[in-house]
């Protein structure tokens, strides 16, 4: 079920009271597992078996892996677990992609592999919980953590419904101790949790979905729109994907907090980054840190000389692109970001880039804004590849940029785009300044906080009833 739907609010209003009334940790955890499978089964009950299979396999292998002393045998079990997880992911997500790509190649020689193309439904959340399971197994292999002795706790770690279908991809050392401990939310967690859910819903329903309706229509038939409208569509997509995912992550964090669990913050105002390296420290933090820890560092990181560093960076970003979807456009998107990062690394010459900006006069502010705009333009260019369905669409976009046309609705598009940009920037600036995404907690008077949250919630409820909700963009990954 979508977070931005009434059925989810009804689900939550049933789950929370029952959860709070349950006496022991074990019963709470068991109840949350049932909720997780119900939540997942609401999409498609058949994939609950896949989730259960993945959970059982990794739980057992984790235990065997830790108990085995022989390094070679440990490595074999690690490979088995990763292979099983990647095979499941590869089959459901990439089988048709590789068949189609290979078919295109061998058609040159007059052969055909279209018969291999299968009607495969991608289980929602597969990419997320598979990576989460892999990180657990690797952490056990590296002896960072001991394997979770309780199957119930491990099963909950995998199927914890706030982050089951679209992350954030959590790490076992962060979550398992919380799940094994007292699952009683504090008053602060409940306050912050409610605020995160409401602000997340506001972002998703009133900004993400609103931009999404325009973007989806433009990118479905880009040939119908003028060059200017296409460019506005791309800018609106950059807003949609950020707000949509950060809104979702807020709701996930908020829901987890109401259950007494703290999960990772996934976004930290990435469009206010002054360079591309900072952007990747602020964008989809869960995935980028996963790729850094389990892929980039595993490949050698920056420990094997500058040339190998750039190669490792490119491989990581290409695979990161491919993770998003079975399409060459995602690979190109990942590759572009790899080039950006490699070039930035080259410019830095070993220096560490600044993580955030602090005001130091108007001149430094102007420089910061210029750098942020420059970084945004680079990211925006890459989003074109991310959003386009195929290479023909990219070609059409470039052709329209070269043969520039404006159309009679340019002013309307400017006003609409500026409105969405302003509200996104408002959220980002406040969060950047307060260093919190539950920034309303900084307001001294609880009555003012409650008034603002009530207004946001009322607006969300009205729009949710009036318009059909759009699925989260990241659900398709």
């Amino acid at each position: 079920m979508l977070f931005n739907s009434y059925i989810f609010l009804i689900f939550l209003s049933v789950v929370l009271p029952v959860f709070y009334l349950l006496p022991s940790r074990k019963t709470k955890n068991s109840f949350l597992i049932i909720c997780g499978y119900f939540f997942y089964g609401y999409w498609d009950w058949r994939f609950c078996f896949l989730l259960a299979f993945s959970t059982i396999v990794d739980f057992l292998i984790g235990k065997i892996l830790y108990a085995t002393k022989n390094d070679t045998k440990r490595k074999i079990f690690l490979i088995i677990s990763i292979s099983i997880n990647l095979t499941i992911l590869g089959f459901f997500k990439y089988f048709n992609f590789f068949v189609d790509s290979f078919t295109t190649l061998i058609k040159i020689f007059g052969s055909d592999l279209d018969f291999l193309h299968l009607r495969i439904i991608l289980p929602v959340g597969l990419s997320f919980y598979t990576f989460q399971s892999i990180s657990y197994i690797i952490d056990v292999y590296w002896k960072k953590i001991k394997p979770e002795p309780s199957f119930i706790n491990y099963a909950l770690f995998v199927c914890f419904f706030p982050q089951l279908v679209a992350g954030p991809i959590e790490r076992a050392p962060r979550i398992l101790p919380q799940i094994s401990g007292k699952l009683v939310p504090t008053r602060a967690q409940i306050r912050i949790g409610i605020e995160l859910i409401i602000t997340g819903l506001f972002k998703k329903v009133l900004i993400g979905d609103a931009t999404g309706r325009i973007v989806d229509n433009i990118f479905l038939q880009p040939q119908l729109y003028s060059s200017f409208e296409l460019l506005m569509g791309l800018i609106l997509f950059s807003i949609q994907i950020y707000i949509d995912f950060s809104g979702y992550s807020n709701i996930a964090r908020g829901t987890a907090k109401l259950l007494g669990v703290d999960i990772i913050r996934n976004f930290q105002q990435p469009y206010l980054s002054s360079n591309i390296t900072e952007f990747w420290r602020r964008w989809h933090i869960a995935l980028s840190s996963w790729l850094k820890d389990y892929l980039y560092i595993a490949l050698g990181g920056n420990r094997k000389g500058p040339k190998r560093t750039y190669v490792n960076l490119m491989i990581t970003m290409l695979l990161g692109g491919l993770w998003h979807g079975a399409n060459w456009t995602y690979v190109i998107w990942g590759g572009l970001h790899g080039l950006y990062l490699a070039f930035h690394k080259l410019l830095l010459k070993g220096k560490k880039p600044r993580d955030s900006y602090s005001y130091n006069g108007i001149f430094s502010f102007i420089i910061f804004i210029s750098k942020a705009i420059g970084t945004y333009v680079l990211v925006l260019f890459a989003w074109l590849f991310f959003r386009s369905n195929n290479l023909n669409m990219i070609q059409l976009f470039f052709s329209k940029m070269i043969h520039w046309t404006t159309g009679d609705l340019s002013m309307r598009f400017i006003c609409i785009t500026l409105s969405f940009l302003c509200i996104t920037l408002l959220f980002d600036c406040v969060e950047y300044y307060t260093k919190e995404d539950s920034f309303l907690q900084k307001i001294r008077y609880s009555s003012v906080r409650h008034g603002i949250l009530t207004a946001m919630f009322v607006a969300v409820c009205i729009v949710m009833l009036s318009y059909e909700p759009l699925p989260f963009v990241y659900f398709q990954f």
């Binding site: 989806d216 119908l224 006003c415 409105s419 009555s447 409650h450």
Partner: protein, 343 residues
Amino acid sequence: MVVKSIKYIVFFLISLCCALLFIEIYFQKAEIYPISTVRYDTILGLALYPNKKLVDFEEGFYLGKINAIGYLGPDYPIKKSPEKIRIALLGDSYVQGHQVFDRHHFRTLLEDTMNAIFNNKVEVLNFGRGGFVVHDSYCYYKNFVTTFNPDVILFIIGPNDFDTNMTNVMLPSCELYSDSIKIKYDFNSTKAFKNRLHGEFYRGKSVMLRLITKCKEIKNTGLLFPVLLGKLYFPAASVENKQVAPFKLSEKHRVILRTMGKDPRIVFVLRDMLPQDAINEIKETHAPIIECSGALNKLIQEGIDPYYWKVSRKRGHLNHLGHRVFTEEIVKELYVILNNKSN
């Protein structure tokens, strides 16, 4: 304690109102949903408000504007230039076409195509109105469309245009007097009209209030529980097995078609399969008929639905392809009709 509570309530209400106002401004600037685009006219009833912006995401994506005179499309003045050929489009929401930009609407496609043939002399004016049925279109034709002195009036009809139960208290009504139609303007003095007029003054200016009105409509049409419960909603069998009464062309609509058919400017455009009763009545008027349902149904048989919208996953009004095919069908016959008229 009491002072504290009062202070809390006051601050709560002030911050609530300020936040709602901010959200309202955001809704209007970002065009999340349109504000009211109707005005109240003592003759026309619900008329279009000149220069109001429109946005629609129900099926496709529409961004447009009502022109300075109060209809859709470019601002062609009421007084027609003698050298111009003026074509008026009359009909319901399929003619209004708030699913595609004006540049993709069959109004523009028709105008461009006809201008290529007739040397830029053609003006096409869109008088389509959502929710209109035959009797509403008749009143609009009599009171508004004819004032523009069109050379041709394409009256575009579909099967849903003959619903006699669709009456709008905000519009003039048609009464049958022996074999003629009389338009009545009683709506002006009804309590319902005055209440709506008063309410719309406030509701019409606020996006949030219009959204609340939309929520009420959703509740009244029985769609509330499917929205709330999603997949867990199981409709009652009696709702699914609702029987549809067989079609019977009303006497009022029969007389309206006959009356309109007497106007030499009228061309009936059949956008979909009409009941035989209605087709026979239209044929008896001896007015020119343009049959478009064949081409549109052929597309459906080929697996390309001209009414399906991929983004909203809804089947409703003509999509971009539908508008193009519709234009092609009209052009074929209209060219002959205009040529005959000019001869």
